[in-house]
Symmetry: C2
Subunit: 209 residues, 2 copies
């Protein structure tokens, strides 16, 4: 297997952190998103959606999208479980993971891609160009404030995001919070529960992957 | 178990169609989104995220979010499999399902919620109010055109969206296409593969659920 990766982007980090927690290692190929390498023919042949991460299987099959790759790896190597073990645990982790992807990852992406010059004309990932919408960057900031409140409340009642144990919901949350910190100063201020959790999860070796 | 439902909304339809395919039935409770019942205290106690569908287990646990509910039901009743059987089948279905959720369901939602009067001040689901952004409705139309192209190409090489067999990827795709048809006239014109597939999938009794 091989992972198409990019160190500076949040979605590949979700997969790298997951792999480090599982003790899975494989060759990686860096796709330089800053140089728009994802739009070159060579990479379009791997993933016409022009996104990383992509997992390449030994038979040449390509699996796109962070959580899909994670679920695939969990299916072929279940231990240690990071998606829960019972159906209810799995559902709790899955609903939080999904919530954070939509309300946090996408919201931070909205802020970044609709405000900084580097993303002019590239306000969404993928092969189609989209102009920036400044009002969407503003809305994204409001959405970040909401997900931080949500996370603060959740981490006041639960040790980890998906329940008592560390799971993939913590991975998505950590990546989202670190991503949000790029666009919001003092993000963790007045969020003591998130701060406690962030220190603990950031101290895991996998957080450096 | 009980399902909190709303007949007029696309996400609960994904779960109802899935349940019909699996032969699962349970009591449902209609939450009238037109009357903003999802924002009332009684429903906030069920789901503070103010969205349907929600699955209520017999012990009172609430599971939110369409795909999470579907994955839960698949875990407790695997037959007939609608999420694939081998890890590679599961991954192919999952990546298409996810793609259609983000590029299709969310895009159509952007058009509807940012253009029609009924959603003024309510441009995103959930407890926080957001003003409409007309440019986002326009962008959503462009995104719909892209996912229709994507689907047309996919259904030219594959009988169903997730592979040879009918799967949950077809459910999300059908719900997304029918949802998109509310905002784009002649959506299926010049998409013969989507048309062929749409006729076949719409003829399944579950499409009426």
């Amino acid at each position: 297997m091989k992972l198409y990766d990019f160190k500076g982007a949040p979605n590949p980090r979700r997969v790298r952190m997951y792999m480090a927690e599982k003790g899975i290692s494989m060759p990686t190929q860096e796709i330089d998103l800053m140089a728009r390498e994802q739009h070159e023919d060579a990479f379009r042949a791997v993933n016409p959606w022009c996104t990383v991460p992509v997992l390449e299987l030994d038979d040449g099959t390509h699996i796109c999208e962070a959580m899909t790759i994670i679920r695939y790896l969990e299916a072929i190597q279940p231990e240690p479980p990071l998606l829960g073990t019972t159906p209810v645990e799995q559902a709790t982790i899955s609903m939080w993971e999904h919530k954070l992807e939509v309300d946090a990852m996408l919201a931070v992406g909205e802020v970044l891609r609709n405000s900084i010059h580097r993303f002019a004309g590239r306000a969404l990932p993928g092969p189609v160009d989209h102009e920036q919408i400044p009002a969407l960057a503003e809305r994204g900031r409001k959405r970040i404030a909401y997900f931080m409140e949500l996370l603060e409340e959740r981490l006041g009642e639960s040790e980890h995001v998906g329940g008592a144990d560390f799971s993939v919901a913590d991975i998505t949350a950590l990546v989202a919070v670190d991503f949000a910190a790029r666009v919001v100063e003092g993000l963790l201020d007045s969020h003591p529960n998130v701060q406690r959790w962030h220190e603990s999860v950031s101290a895991r070796p996998s957080a450096q992957a």
